[in-house]
């Protein structure tokens, strides 16, 4: 898997747009040769980031243009993923039964950063072998 490939999706931040985006990412990664477990983990991590966007990012402001961008860049065995929105990051208040999304992403991705300045950007990194194993 040499060279560079990119996938960029701009979608309405609505729950109906999450599954198609996740499926597109899976197909993109499958074409790059990622194995079944890696595909599961990548789509799980991104699925959590996308679910956070549609659940929380625009919850406080109906006037904003509700959208998210999913960007995947594969370069020489390294997969960099970014899920970005222009909404408001909601700091996690500990509540029973909630707050699994970021915990799951941190457990899966080899590297994860969260930038909440002017919207939210979740960046994740995986290698072509197996994520975090």
């Amino acid at each position: 898997m040499n060279g560079c490939s990119e996938l960029r999706l701009l979608q309405e931040a609505h729950s109906r747009c999450v599954a198609p985006s996740r499926h597109a990412l899976r197909a993109f990664c499958e074409a790059l040769g990622f194995g079944a477990d890696a595909l599961d983990d990548i789509t799980t991590a991104v699925g959590e980031a996308l679910a956070n966007v549609v659940e929380h990012a625009y919850a406080d402001d109906c006037d904003q243009r509700r959208s998210f961008e999913l960007h995947a860049r594969f370069d020489n065995g390294d997969l960099a993923l970014e899920v970005a929105d222009t909404g408001t990051f909601r700091h996690c208040v500990p509540r029973p039964y909630r707050g699994f999304g970021l915990r799951i992403i941190r457990a899966i991705a080899q590297q994860m950063t969260l930038d909440t300045d002017g919207g939210t950007r979740v960046r994740m990194r995986f290698t072509a072998k197996t994520p975090k194993s």
Partner: protein
């Protein structure tokens, strides 16, 4: 007379994700008088933390009511999700629905 089964079954299939949140929440409702519940998720092909949250809420409610729950998960993605969330020891998980049913039968007949 229409007798209720000793073990009730909740079955969900396909992708359990944020777009089906309300449907998942509605499915995970503990019915009055339930003695044991088999949560059959063996044909779930993908799950996210939305499903996990509702499953956890349901199991905690059942625990308070002393209703035993067995969860059937066969998909690797779902099983790994539970592990990543640190919830593997919270649920009574089976891969085989028959084993889950046998476990609940023992609970009901104990």
């Amino acid at each position: 007379m229409n007798e209720r089964p000793a073990i009730e079954t909740i079955r969900l299939t396909g992708e359990l994700e944020v777009g089906r949140k309300q449907e998942i929440r509605d499915a995970f409702a503990l019915r009055d008088g339930a003695r044991a519940v088999l949560v059959d998720l063996s044909e779930v092909t993908y799950a996210d933390s939305t499903a996990l949250t509702e499953l956890l809420r349901f199991c905690m409610t059942a625990q308070r009511e002393a209703v035993p729950i067995a969860v059937v998960i066969r998909t690797r993605q779902f099983a790994r999700l539970v592990q990543y969330a640190g919830l593997a020891s919270v649920f009574k998980i089976f891969e085989d629905p028959g084993e889950a049913f046998a476990y609940l039968s023992d609970c009901v007949n104990a």
